[in-house]
Symmetry: D2
Subunit: 348 residues, 4 copies
C-alpha cells in the first residue's frame, strides 16, 4: 500500500542546485481512472536536468515541477479503467508522455517529464498508462532508469521514422563516452554494425573497445578524425550513420566522415555552434542527410526494450550511485563530470 | 542509317560561351557491343551547362567534352549484345550514366553527361544501354529532353531513398519558377499534395496557380514567408517537404516553414551561403531533416516516367526554342534569364 | 447540455435483426477524466454490423453491446484531463479504439466499436480521447460517418505499415463497387495512380468511370479478367496493388493480374474460400506479396483525413438515408443489397 | 594468362545426371568490351541444379547450358570499357545476371546463371561486369561460392524491397538445416534477432544451437510446432519473420507462429502444396503478410556481402568437397541428402 505522503523533490526557481527542494511530506498524487501509480525505485540524470534549476533550459517549464525525466519502478495501483498494466508490473517512464507514435506535435512536445509534467525524482508518481513501457526483464531498476532519454535518443538515431535504419555491415560513428554515445555503440553492435568511436584518452579508448567499438580514434592525436574515420570504411566510402553530440567542430568532422546518402543525427542542445561553422551547403556537397531528433516515441521505446532484452544489453551506469536524499550532491557530481556512463539515483 | 560524320558541339577551354565549338564533321561515335546509338532530337539546358564553359563548375570535367546532360531521341542502332532497347525505341538520357540504383558511389558520381561523359548537344550519341530510359509516350522530344536533370531532381526530392515520400495530403513548399521547382509543383500535385509556392511577381504567381499551386506567396511582399507558409498548413504544423533551391536567406525561411520531422531537400549549387546563415543547430531545434541531393538514379527515373505518363504531366518548356547551331545564343538567352521553365534545343 | 437519458440501440441475442433493441431512455454514459462525450450526428453501416445480430461474427463480442463501428459527431463535453479535444470539435470514431499506431496487438484487437466496446448507434457516446480523430472539414456528418471502417481499410491497403505505398504512376486494381473498393478508387486516383476496376454491369461501370476509374472490366464478359488487367499495364508487367475483397475466384484472377513484387491486400471476411482455391505456392510463382489487413490505426486515419481534406474527396453515400429509429429497416435494406456506396444513418 | 581451351560441363538433354557432359577442350568464352573474364575457383550446388538435368525445372532453359548458378573466382582479364573490376579482383557471381536493383522484370528474370546464361561449372567464364560482386574478404573461395543463391535468398527474406526489415529484438523462425535456412539463422543472429529453428534430430539441434539458434524445436516431437514457437515469443505475440522453405504442412504451422503484421517469406519451389493446404484466408485471419521471393538483386548482394565481412560470417560448407571432374558424383551425393549445409565444388 502506498503511503499518503511521500518524499519528493521540486524545482523552486532558477538559482542553481539550491533551487532543488526536498519535501519529505509531499502528497501522494491522485490516481485518475486511466492512471498508473508507480513506486519509483530508480531515476537517472541527464544534462537537461542539471540546467533546469540553473534556468538555462530553453523549453517550456512548469513552476514547482518535480524534476527527473527518467525512471523505473513497480506498479503499485491502477485506475479503474487501466488496461495496459496491473499491480506488480515493472515499468519505465516515457520522456514525452504524449509521444505515443509518429512525429511529435504541438501537444506532445509539451509533455516532457521533469519539465512540464511532474517527473521521477520522488518515491511515487502517477502516470497516464499511455506514458509507461514495460521494463526489460534482463535489467535491474538502476539500469532500467537510464533508458527514457539517452537510450531512446540513440535508438531513434539508428531507427528513426522514415529514414535509413542501421543494418548489419553498416558503419556507425559515435563521439565520446556520454550516455547517448554509449547506447549508440551498444545498439549498433547488437545490430551487426561496425562502430568507429572517438575519444580523448587511452583509458576511455580501452573502455570503448571493451564495449565493442571496432575502431577508436583519439581526436586529440588526430584532429582531422573525420577523414580518418572515412578511411576506415570499405572502399573509403564513409560511414552510414553519425550520432552527432557535439558542436560545430565535431560537425565539420562528421561531414568529412559521412558516406553519400549517409545520415548524421544531431542530438541534444549542449554547446551550440560558433562562427566558423559548417553550412547546409555541406549537406549538398556531401549529398548527405542531417536530422535533428528529440528523444523518441513509445512505439520506438517498445522496440528498443525488446532489442535490449533479446540481446541482453546492459546500460553503462556509473559505479557511484546516489540516494534520493542526496540529489544535490548527485547533480554536482555530474556537473563536475566525475561520472562515466549514466548516473543513477536509488530511490527505494 | 546514321551518317559517318555528325554535327556536334564541344567545350574547348574555359573562356565563356566562346569556348563552345561547333564541329560539322565530327566522327560518328563507335558502337560498343552493349551500346545504343541514339539519334538525338532534342536537348535541354541546365544552369550547370552554362557555367561549364565559364570554368565555374566545381566538379571533375573532361577536356573537349560534348556538352549537354539532357537529351531525347530515337534508337538508331544497338550493339550486338544489347537487350534493353531496339531500333526505333524512343529514349531519354540518364544524367549520371552509372547511377543505376541506390546511392551514388565514387565511380558513378564520375559519369555525368556533358561533364565527364560526352553529352547530348550533337546529332548522334552512343550510350551504354544501362544509361538510357524509355521516353514517356505522352511527351514530344522537346518536352522529354527536360527530364534528365531538373525533373529527376524534383522527383528525388519527393521520392528519395530511405526518406519520407510525399503522400496525398502532405504540404510541399516550392521556391520560384525554375525548372526543378516547376517539376516539384507538377509532381506534388499529381501525388495529391498541397503546394505552397513562392515567387516575386503577380504574373508568375498566376502561372504557378495555373499549374496547380494551392497558395502562392510573393516573397517581396512577405519577407517572412516561411512563417506565412507554416500558417497555411493544418494546425499550423508546417510543411512536410521543402524543395530548397536558393541560398542562406531562403534556407532560413524554409526552416521556419518546416514541420517536425519534415524534410528540406537542398538542390543545386547556385548561389552559396553567406555569413549570417542558419546553422545545423536549426535542424535540431526544428527537429527536421535536411538532405542534399544530386539528380537521381535510373530506377527513380523509370518510376518518374511512369508517373509522367500516367498523369499526362507535361514539362513547362519556354516558347523560344533554339536550333542546335544556335547553341551560343541559347546559352546567352538563358544566362540573361529571359526564359520561363526549361529551355530546349531542337536537334533534328 | 446533454440530456440524462438518450436513445440507443443494443444487440440482445443472435436472432437476426429482431435482436436489435431500441431503448429510448438509456442512461447517458459516464464521462471519465480522459473521455470525450460526443453527440453523434451520423453513423454508417458495414457488413460486419449486419452479421453481428445474426450470430455470424467470428470475433469476440460483448452482450448487450451498442452496435455501430462508424460514427461522426460533435464534442459535447470533455473529461477533466482531456487535452486532444474541446467542446464543439467535430470528430469521427476510430474502429479499434486501442489501435493508436503500429500493429494491432492482443489488447487493441479487442477494442472494436460495436463489438466489444459500445458503438455509435445512439445519440451520445463517450470515447477515450485516444479513440477519436478530427473530422475532415470538407465533409458533412453523413459523409464523415463512413470513414471509420471502409475508408481506413482502403487507405491501409494503399499505405500500410512497412509495405509498398502507392505512388503516382502505379496501377491499382479494385473489385466491384462496395465501400472499400470505392474508397480505394478515390484514394488511388488522388495519389496519381491508374485504376483498373471490375464490375458486372454497364451502369456500375459508368459510375466507376465517373469517379475516376481509368479502365473498367466487366467480369461477366471477361471471366479471365486478371489477364485482361495485366495486359492494360505498361509492358504488360501487371498491377502494383490489388484491393482484394472477394473470395477464391477473385483471388485466382488477382494473382494473374499482379506484378512481380506487387501487393495484394486481402480485405474483409465475406465469402470464404472454396475447394479449388489458389495456393500460397502462387505467391512464390508470381513473386508477389499477399497481406491480410484489418482496418487501421489512428495514425493512419489522421493521415487519411488530411488527404481527404486536401483533395476534397467525398465518400459515396447511398441516396437513401435512414433515421436512427429506422435501424432495422436500414439493416434489411443493406442486407438486400439495395444500396450503392455506403449506407448512412442520420442520428440527430 | 587464360588458356585457349578450358574444362567445362554442359547439360545435354534431360536424362538425369547422365545428361551432364564434361568437355575438356571447350573454347574459352569471348570477352566483350564490358565483360569480365573470371577464373573460377569454386562453385556450389543448389537443388535447382539437380533438377535441371532431370527435366524438372519449371523455368526457361537454354540447350547445352553450362550449369552452375553459384561461383567465386579471380578476375583474369577485363574488356576495354570495364570500370567496376580489374585483373586480380576476387568476385562472386550474381544469380540473375540482369537483376541489378529493384524488382525483377520480364527481361531480368530470364538471366539466371546455369539456366539461361552459361553458369559456373567450368574453369573460366565471362560475365557482364554488372553481374559480378566483390567477394567478402573474410571468406575463402569455397565459402564464397555459396552466396549467390542460398545466402542472397535468405538475405532477401530478411531485407526485402519495401517490406519489414529484421531489427534487433525481432523473432525469426527458420526451418531445418538447408542452405537458405542456415544463412537465415546466421544473418538473423548477426542482426540482433532471436532465432527459433526447427529440426528433426538431436544432432542437428546441437548444430543449430552451435550456430546461434536461441530455441530449437524438434518437429517430430512437437507436430504443432507453430504454436510452440509462438509461445516462446514475448507476450506470446508470435514471430516477426518466417523463412518458409517447406510445403503445405510447414505453411500451416508458420501461420500459427506468425505475429500480427509479421512476414512469411516463401522460398524455393521444392515440394509443392497438397490438398489440405492452408488458404489465403489465413493471411487475413492472422493479419499477416506472405511474400514469394526469388533470390535477390545485386544491390542486395552488395549489402549482404558487407554484412558478411563486418560480422565475419562464414557459410556452412559440407566437409566433403568434390573436384570439378567429379560433378556427377557430387550431384548424386547431394541428391541422396548426404550433405549438411552447402555443397561446394573445387574448380582449381
Amino acid at each position: 500500500m502506498a503511503p499518503s505522503t511521500i518524499k519528493a523533490w521540486t524545482v523552486e526557481g532558477q538559482n542553481g542546485f539550491d533551487s532543488l527542494k526536498f519535501n519529505e511530506k509531499a502528497q501522494l498524487p491522485k490516481l485518475g481512472d486511466k492512471d498508473v501509480l508507480v513506486k519509483l525505485h530508480a531515476a537517472s540524470l541527464n544534462y537537461r536536468d542539471l540546467i533546469i534549476p540553473k534556468g538555462k533550459y530553453p523549453f517550456p517549464m512548469k513552476d514547482s515541477i518535480v524534476p527527473g525525466s527518467d525512471g523505473a519502478g513497480t506498479v503499485e495501483a491502477v485506475g479503474d479503467r487501466v488496461t495496459r498494466f496491473k499491480k506488480g508490473d515493472k515499468v519505465v517512464t516515457l520522456f514525452n508522455q504524449g509521444h505515443i507514435a509518429g512525429s511529435l506535435d504541438a501537444q506532445s512536445i509539451q509533455t516532457g517529464l521533469g519539465g512540464v509534467v511532474d517527473g521521477t525524482l520522488r518515491e511515487y508518481g502517477t502516470f497516464d498508462e499511455q506514458g509507461l513501457v514495460s521494463m526489460p526483464e534482463n535489467l535491474n531498476f538502476l539500469e532500467a532508469s537510464t533508458l527514457s532519454c539517452a537510450a531512446l535518443t540513440a535508438w531513434n538515431a539508428l531507427y528513426g521514422l522514415e529514414t535509413r535504419a542501421v543494418k548489419p555491415g553498416d558503419y556507425v560513428l559515435t563521439q565520446g563516452t556520454g550516455g547517448v554515445s554509449m547506447f549508440g555503440l551498444l545498439f549498433a553492435k547488437a545490430a551487426g554494425a561496425k562502430v568507429i568511436a572517438t575519444t580523448s584518452s587511452q583509458k576511455k579508448a580501452d573502455l570503448l573497445k571493451k564495449h565493442g567499438a571496432d575502431h577508436v580514434i583519439n581526436y586529440k592525436d588526430e584532429p582531422n578524425w573525420g577523414e580518418t574515420a572515412k578511411a576506415l570504411t570499405p572502399l573509403k566510402a564513409g560511414v552510414h550513420h553519425v550520432i552527432e553530440v557535439g558542436g560545430p567542430s565535431t560537425m565539420a568532422q562528421s561531414l568529412k566522415a559521412i558516406k553519400i546518402d549517409g545520415v548524421i543525427s544531431i542530438i541534444g542542445f549542449v554547446g551550440g555552434f560558433g562562427k566558423e561553422q559548417p553550412s547546409f551547403m555541406d549537406c549538398l556537397s556531401n549529398i548527405c542527410t542531417v536530422r535533428g531528433i528529440l528523444v523518441g516515441s513509445r512505439l520506438q521505446m517498445e522496440d528498443m526494450n525488446r532489442a535490449i532484452e533479446a540481446n541482453d544489453i546492459h546500460p553503462i551506469v556509473d559505479e557511484k550511485v546516489f540516494e534520493l536524499a542526496q540529489l544535490k550532491e548527485a547533480y554536482q557530481y555530474m556537473w563536475d563530470q566525475k561520472h562515466f556512463g549514466k548516473m543513477a539515483i536509488r530511490i527505494a
